[in-house]
Structure formats: C-alpha cells, structure tokens
C-alpha cells in the first residue's frame, strides 16, 4: 500500500506545532508566577484588618480609674507598642469632662532597658499642666502604669522622665524618681 508522504508530513508538522505550544505556554506561565512568595497574594482589605489591635487604657477620672478599649495599629516591639498605648493614654478618656490627664503632653521617646524597665520620656506639659491633689496624682501615674503593663508583655516596671531628665515629682505628692511599681502600692 503506497504511503501518502505529503499527508504524513502535514501530521508531523501539526504534532510539532502543538507540542511547541504546550511547552511554550508552560514556560511562560511558570516564569511569570512560579517565583512569587505566596504571602503577597493577600488582598488589601484583609491587610487592614490584621494590622489593628484592641488595647485597654486606664484613665484617671473623678477619683477613680476608668478603663476604655481603644483600637490601634497592630502592636509590634515593646517600645512601638508602648508608644501607641502612651499616645492613647495622653488623649484622655472619650468623655474628657473631668479628666486629670495633663493636656498638651507629648511623647518624646521610649527606651526599654535590659532590666525590664520601660523608660517613658514625656514633655514638660505632663508636670506643668497637672494641678491635682494626692489622689489625682496617684491615679494619673497608676493609669499610665496599668495601661502599659496590661498591654505590653515583658515590661516589669515603668519609669517616667520629663524632657529626658529624672524629676522628683509630677504634682508634689508622689515620687517619680524611681520606677513606679513601688510608688503605686495600694491605698487603704
């Protein structure tokens, strides 16, 4: 039986073109997507949800501490987390009517010592704009201390600096020369 050589040639050309197309397609798509990290496929809306956290902030108000939950950016290292918390604390409670948090105070810096003490450097307004009695001063320091300790793990104690320097007192009743834990023993 005579072989139609022309037909066989056309079949071979078709098979070669088809195989080439398959191989080209494979290498094209593998080159474009194969090396990308999987994490980058997360959509933008999901990123916003995962980067926020809830913190508990304790504010002095009318002779007691009141707790408010605040939503902040996702907490990171000790100092970044603590700075977020101190910033929220300095904003005062939602109802600022009777807040004893000194207005105009800025966070100048935070330093975390190897001894577990977090140094919070605040602007002079924290001292200058405080005009309360002994209980108010106690609650101001207690609120700041509790807000940090209850939200940031690894911090054992908190020490306040004013304009980068050690001060004896904020309001003339309690010491801030030393870390706060011992100064904030219970009231009876």
């Amino acid at each position: 039986m005579p072989i139609n050589r022309r037909r066989v040639l056309w079949v071979l050309v078709f098979i070669l073109l088809f195989s080439g197309g398959i191989a080209g397609g494979f290498f094209y798509f593998a080159g474009n997507f194969g090396n990308k990290p999987k994490g980058e496929t997360i959509s933008e809306p999901q990123k916003q949800v995962d980067d926020s956290s809830f913190i508990r902030v304790y504010f002095p108000s009318e002779g007691r501490l009141i707790m408010e939950e605040r939503r902040v950016k996702r907490l990171g290292s000790v100092t970044i987390s603590a700075e977020e918390i101190v910033e929220e604390f300095l904003k005062g409670p939602s109802n600022r009517g009777k807040s004893d948090v000194p207005s105009g105070t800025k966070v100048l810096g935070l330093y975390f010592g190897t001894d577990g003490i977090l140094y919070v450097d605040l602007s002079d307004e924290f001292r200058r704009n405080f005009h309360g009695d002994a209980l108010s001063e106690f609650l101001l320091l207690k609120g700041l201390y509790e807000s940090i300790i209850s939200n940031v793990t690894g911090v054992d104690d908190v020490k306040i600096l004013i304009e980068g320097k050690e001060m004896e007192s904020i309001g003339g009743h309690l010491f801030i020369l030393y870390p706060l834990k011992n100064a904030l023993a219970e009231i009876r």
Partner: protein, 328 residues
C-alpha cells in the same frame, strides 16, 4: 462691753452619798469629782474646773466654735457648781457645753495645787474673731511645748491646685503662717518648711523636719473635693525583709503608731468643727515615709477657705487636732 454680756449657767450638780470605792480617793461610783466656779471681773468671765485628779484636768480638752465652748473631759464626772453663773450651759456625758451667743476669745490656764483648768472669756467683734491667727484657739494652751513643723505644700513653679484666683501654694502658706502666728503667741516651738513662695523638693522638706527633731509634722495641702482628707504613711504594710527605695527611707516605721494617733486626733477635731466626715487614707507618700516623727498630710477642701472666717476655722481645727494628739 461688759453690759452686753449675758451669762446663764445651767450647772448639773450630782450629790454622791455612797462611800468612796477603792478606785481612788477622788472618784465616786467611777466618776471623778469636779467643782466649777464662776466669776466676772472687768468684762472677763472666768470659769474654773477643779479636781484632785491631776491627769483628769490635764487631759481635758477645750474647743470652741463661733459662739460655743466645749469642755471635753476624759472620763465621767460628778460636777458641783459653786456660785450663780449667768451662762447657758449644760453637761452631756463627759462634755460641758457653754453657749455664749456672741463671738469671743478665750484664754486657758492649766494650774496645779490643786489641779485646775481656768477658762477666761472675753467678748470680741465679729471682725476680730474671723481674722486667721487673730481668732485665738482655746486649745492652744493645752498644746504642750513640743516641736511642731508645718509644711505648706507646693511653692515656686509648683503651683498646686488652681481654683479661680486661688493658688494652692499661696493658700497653704497662708494657713501655715496663721498657725505659726497663733502658736508663737503662746511661745510654742513651731517651724515652717518654707516661709515664702519658693520651690522645695519633698526630700528637702523631710530633711528639714528631721533636722528640727520635730515631735509633729503636718503637711498642708488643698483638694478640689468637698471633704477633708487626712493621709498617713502606708509604711507599716511593707514586709520587713523587703528592701527598696521606699523601705530604705522609711523612717516612719518606728513611729507609725504616733502618726495614726495624730491622724485620728486631727480627723476628730476637723469633724467636730465642720460637722463633716473626714476621709482617712494610707498611701506610700515619700514625704511622710521619710520623716522620723508623727507625720500626716492634710488636704483642705478649697471651698472651706473661700473667706477669712473659713480660714480661721480651718486653722482652729488644725490646732485643736494637735491639742487632741498631744494630750493623749
């Protein structure tokens, strides 16, 4: 002036007919025998309480308000009135209350042989009675000659509480100086940690009190609250084996009971004067912890010192508080 004075005395006289018991030679049925005499001379009215029990007379506390004198005896008594005093008065338990109905000044004398307490009363104008320091505390002579250090809170750039025109640093200094003035008039030893508008650290204040070997240390502050607050140190609660910055400077530990007594005496005097409850707080206050004597901090409500009469009442109450503590 003498013509304006009217005195009515309601004396209560208890005649005890039982034989003396073994309690003491001058007590009857557990009551101390006290005699009261009344006299008037050149506009000065004198009331003398006399007893054979010297400690009874010594521990009697005399306090006064605008128109009233209260004589608080340390235990039950049997009172015999001699003479015919024109003073409206009554004995209620251990308290002898004299209602005068006009402003007055008093002068007290504690005398021995026999033990007796003499109260001289003279009428004054309202203006005289309302001047701080000018209104003489009838408790003054019952304050023994102890060393008193008064600490006016805040000062200098530390303004303290601001309430309208009032600055805490000025108000505390004013109260302290009025107390000092009253005490100095009776030759009592009194020292102020600051006498002008200057900043003093808490450490400097404590050092001052310790250097003066004070018997009593009172730090005066204000509060925007409605109630007086008396603070004492929380030092006692620190475990004995704990060593920290506060326990190292805790000179209070050995005198904490005295501070408690001073706190209670002061609270009682304030309550008697202002008829209000007093808030007692124990707090780790470095100033009190660093003073090696009976030490308290008082917060005076801003509202009570809005006028001169109010200041005078506060000063009087604080002096009475010292007298109550010193005579315990």
């Amino acid at each position: 002036m003498a013509a304006k004075l009217f005195f009515i005395i309601l004396g209560i006289s208890v005649l005890v007919t039982d034989f003396p018991t073994f309690e003491s030679a001058y007590t009857m049925e557990g009551k101390t025998e006290v005699s009261m005499r009344f006299s008037t001379q050149e506009g000065v009215h004198r009331i003398v309480f006399e007893s054979q029990d010297e400690s009874f007379i010594k521990n009697t506390v005399v306090t006064s308000t605008q128109n009233q004198i209260k004589v608080q005896f340390p235990s039950n008594l049997s009172l015999t009135v001699q003479g015919n005093p024109d003073i409206e008065a009554s004995l209620k338990g251990r308290m002898y209350v004299i209602n005068l109905g006009y402003p007055f000044k008093t002068k007290l004398l504690l005398l021995t042989s026999p033990p007796r307490l003499s109260i001289d009363i003279v009428q004054v104008t309202k203006e005289e009675s309302s001047q701080p320091g000018g209104r003489q505390s009838s408790s003054l002579l019952l304050i023994p000659n102890i060393r008193i250090v008064i600490d006016p809170g805040h000062g200098g750039y530390d303004l303290g509480i601001l309430s309208g025109e009032l600055k805490e640093k000025e108000a505390t200094l004013s109260l302290a100086r009025a107390m000092e003035s009253a005490l100095l008039k009776k030759n009592r030893s009194v020292f102020l940690t600051r006498r002008a508008d200057q900043f003093l650290s808490l450490t400097e204040r404590a050092m001052f009190a310790n250097q003066k070997s004070a018997d009593i240390f009172i730090s005066i502050h204000l509060t925007p609250s409605q109630d007086f607050a008396v603070y004492s140190s929380l030092t006692e609660s620190a475990p004995s084996d704990t060593v920290n910055e506060y326990s190292i400077m805790a000179l209070q530990r050995r005198v904490i009971e005295k501070s408690k007594a001073l706190s209670e005496g002061m609270g009682k005097a304030i309550k008697d004067e202002f008829k209000k409850d007093v808030i007692y707080r124990k707090m780790e206050l470095p100033l009190l912890s660093s003073v090696g004597t009976a030490a308290i901090m008082i917060e005076v409500p801003v509202g009570t010192i809005s006028d001169q009469a109010g200041k005078a009442r506060v000063v009087d109450a604080l002096l009475k508080g010292i007298a109550l503590y010193a005579n315990q």
